[in-house]
């Protein structure tokens, strides 16, 4: 792969590294007078730190329980090009603005009585002119609200019980753990490439038992949810041959349950887990009469897992292992596109691992690598002559992150490279986060995508995506 966007991605990475090296070269230190001084009350209520103003108006105490972030985002595809889907067949990709939206995120946390806590978070989105949601809403401003977390917690003795909307995260590898499968996810658009931002909350009961040196954590999900289909108009949306409806529950009662045992030893954390789950991605079958809605099918499976980490100086090693019994043989790594999968309806066992490391180069720089690899066991069993699995042999993905913080963490430069093990796709991101003050911050991203016909990201091949977000938090 040596497309212009790929070269660009490599270029920005090299540029970032060079900038880092340059920034780290020592300047001549300031020569300070021996008797340099300042006010006696330096650091408290002296004029050094109050010179800029404005004593905070503390306001009512109950407001302290709220954290609010307001952000405006612009994001778009900047490279005019065409994508070759097959010899002689290509389609144009025009530069266009995709996101023009205002977001309001509110978080509330209140320990209102001894041992009790109420926590909630929610978001509102306002889609302005030229946002794909605006277009999908027939050229009208669209507004969307969503409750994320909403749970009540009671802690007593060695126990803690949380009831309500929440997430449960397993696994040590950040970004692509094979054990991070409990929450359903939504990658609505390419501004979200981190799994942490894509996880969605579910209504669960979580019971933690904090024992002597170890912890049991058990969850019961009485209302398992599934990855939502891509929103019409979003970059991940492709006109399917049939509508992709949500799962219709009717009288169908089903649940998920799982438990994890975790222990911290010196320089090592280990955990074992077992769960009965439903795959987050629904499988769609063609409608019986060949028209109308596709038929969503859910699939239950059993997960057994182990995870561990090990700190060695500034190096942290991560390891996750997952054995999944009775998963559907064909499933894609990228959510939303499974609707395009072949109609193979076969249950298999799968073994997977994710592992990697994080290394703190120095005070400011860190590098991490994560590799996820999975394999379907007894691949050929149950296949008809001529049938093949979508994922044959070893399949998975890798992820490299680099970050460099400057100006006492006010400025963070980061770079992410992400691809699949087969080498069919590469996603490169360069990000800049700058904190102007305690309230204002700015983020900018450049994302370059390269993919060939072996990857579902083919439709984004040679995309160059630029975006910026300005946020105000209080």
């Amino acid at each position: 792969m040596s497309s212009p966007s790929h070269l660009f991605a490599s270029g920005v990475l090299v540029a970032l590294l060079m900038a880092t090296a340059s920034a780290q070269q020592d300047d001549q230190p300031l020569v300070l007078d021996p008797d340099v001084s300042f006010d006696q009350d330096f650091g408290f209520d002296d004029d050094l730190f109050n010179a800029f103003g404005d004593e905070e108006d503390s306001g009512p105490d109950w407001l302290d329980d709220f954290t609010v972030r307001i952000s405006q985002q612009f994001f778009g595809q900047a490279n005019n090009h065409s994508v070759d889907l097959a010899p002689g067949f290509s389609f144009p990709r025009e530069a266009e603005l995709e996101n023009n939206r205002l977001g309001i995120n509110v978080r509330y946390q209140n320990a209102f009585a001894p041992g009790w806590l109420l926590q909630a978070s929610g978001q509102a989105r306002f889609y302005w002119n030229d946002d794909y949601e605006y277009e999908a809403n027939h050229g009208r401003i669209d507004v969307e609200y969503r409750i994320n977390e909403f749970f009540l917690q009671r802690s007593f003795g060695n126990e803690s019980v949380k009831v309500g909307n929440q997430t449960v995260v397993w696994g040590e590898t950040v970004g692509n753990s094979v054990l991070d499968v409990i929450n359903h996810i939504e990658f609505r658009d390419l501004t979200i490439i981190d799994i942490e931002d894509a996880r969605r909350n579910q209504f669960m009961v979580v019971w933690d038992h904090f024992g002597e040196g170890s912890t049991w954590s058990t969850f019961l999900n009485l209302y398992p949810e599934f990855n939502p289909a891509p929103v019409r108009g979003s970059p991940f949306f492709f006109e399917p041959p049939f509508n992709l409806p949500d799962y219709v529950r009717g009288d169908d009662r089903f649940f998920e349950i799982g438990t994890q045992w975790r222990k911290s030893l010196e320089l090592t954390d280990i955990s074992f887990m077992a769960a009965y789950l439903y795959e987050n991605q629904l499988r769609y079958e063609d409608p019986i009469d060949g028209m109308g809605n596709a038929i969503p099918k859910k699939n239950d499976f059993v997960l057994l897992g182990f995870s561990a980490n090990r700190a060695i100086g500034r190096l942290l090693l991560n390891f996750d292992l997952a054995f999944s019994h009775d998963v559907l043989a064909d499933s894609f790594n990228i959510p939303g596109t499974a609707a395009l999968a072949s109609p193979l309806d076969l249950k298999k066992d799968r073994i997977g691992t994710s592992f990697g490391f994080e290394y703190a180069v120095d005070n400011e720089q860190s590098v991490s690598l994560g590799i996820q690899a999975q394999k379907v066991l007894d691949e050929d069993e149950g296949l008809l002559p001529g049938q093949t699995l979508v994922n044959e042999g070893l399949f998975g993905s890798w992820l490299v992150r680099y970050s460099n913080t400057l100006l006492n963490s006010d400025l963070t430069l980061s770079s992410t490279l992400q691809g699949d093990l087969e080498g069919d796709s590469l996603l490169a991101m360069l990000g800049v986060d700058y904190t102007l003050n305690d309230n204002w911050s700015v983020n900018a991203q450049i994302i370059s995508i390269t993919a060939n016909s072996g990857s579902p990201l083919l439709f984004f091949d040679e995309d160059l995506r630029l975006g910026a977000t300005i946020s105000y938090a209080f």
């Binding site: 300031l30 730190f49 806590l117 933690d208 010196e266 500034r314 703190a360 006492n408 963490s409 209080f474």
Partner: protein, 296 residues
């Protein structure tokens, strides 16, 4: 010596247990040992609230001023000593401000034994779980980490291992109207490989045993950082430098650590200094209330 100044927020010298007459007889290493002993006594079972302010600074007419509005972090910290001599420390720090970072917590187990790596865990709500941090030990041959992005590093907050230094009394002088010893600390060969400083010069209040100024020099013997202590007050029977400022003379940025509250002799349950405090906010807030109630 700056590394003794800031541990869990303490640049403290307890007790004023010796009179000035006795203190005058101390050798340089005894002065430092006294600092260490007092420091450990005060870092054990402590609850404190600190404000770390960071800005780019300028100097005009020998006065230091921030050249921009400082970035301010407010945090609450609880610490306790462990081991036979209470030389190991477990501490948990929770950020209260700014709003965007509220609730971020860090649990640290620091070991006095040079062969044991310190351990840290961080809880970030975005990750949804506790995450071990690859921070290493102060004794690794690596650059020391900083405290919440400030100019204070783990090396600045380190204690112990005095035997790894050559300690000399340079002179007796005056700093800000206080009589001080000027003590130079030069790391030995082993220590020098682990330190970013070739030597430090410490101005120590003779009466209160509080460092009022520390100069840190690089391998070319250029002063690269300077620490200044002020607002020395008696708190809970202990002399404390409540305002400590670390100036980075290379980047022209400074961080000030202000101890808004500090209470020692608090009965801290062992369970509080575990990962549960990071993840279980109901437990954390309940236990913090109990700790605060001991103060009143």
């Amino acid at each position: 010596m700056v590394r003794q100044v800031v541990l869990t927020g303490l640049s403290v010298f307890a007790l004023a247990l010796s009179g000035l007459g006795l203190a005058q007889d101390l050798t340089p290493i005894e002065i430092m040992e006294r600092m260490e002993d007092n420091q450990r006594a005060t870092s054990n079972s402590a609850l404190s609230k600190m404000q770390i302010s960071t800005c780019r600074f300028g100097v005009k007419d020998s006065r230091i001023t921030c050249a921009e509005r400082p970035r301010i972090k407010l945090m609450e910290s609880v610490g306790k000593g462990y081991g036979a001599l209470l030389r190991d420390t477990r501490s948990v720090s929770i950020l209260l401000e700014p709003a965007a970072e509220r609730g971020i917590g860090m649990l640290t187990y620091a070991y006095d034994d040079a062969t044991r790596d310190n351990e840290s865990w961080l809880y970030l709500s975005a990750l949804g779980r506790v995450k071990r941090i690859a921070s290493g030990s102060d004794d690794d041959e690596t650059e020391p980490g900083s405290l919440f992005g400030s100019e204070f590093t783990t090396e600045d907050m380190d204690t112990g291992k005095l035997e790894e230094y050559s300690i000399n009394l340079l002179e007796e002088s005056n700093q800000g109207g206080r009589d001080v010893w000027v003590v130079e600390m030069i790391p030995n060969e082993d220590r020098a490989r682990k330190s970013r400083y070739s030597r430090t010069v410490n101005y120590i209040d003779k009466e209160r045993f509080v460092p009022l100024r520390v100069e840190m020099y690089d391998q070319y013997d250029k002063e690269v950082k300077r620490m200044l202590g002020s607002r020395v007050e008696m708190m809970n029977g202990i002399w404390v430098s409540r305002s400590i400022t670390m100036m980075n003379l290379v980047s022209n940025r400074l961080s000030n650590m202000a101890f808004l509250e500090m209470h020692t002799g608090i009965e801290v349950p062992d369970e509080f200094l575990t990962q549960r405090t990071l993840t279980d906010a109901a437990f954390r807030e309940t236990e913090l209330e109990k700790l605060r109630s001991q103060i009143q």
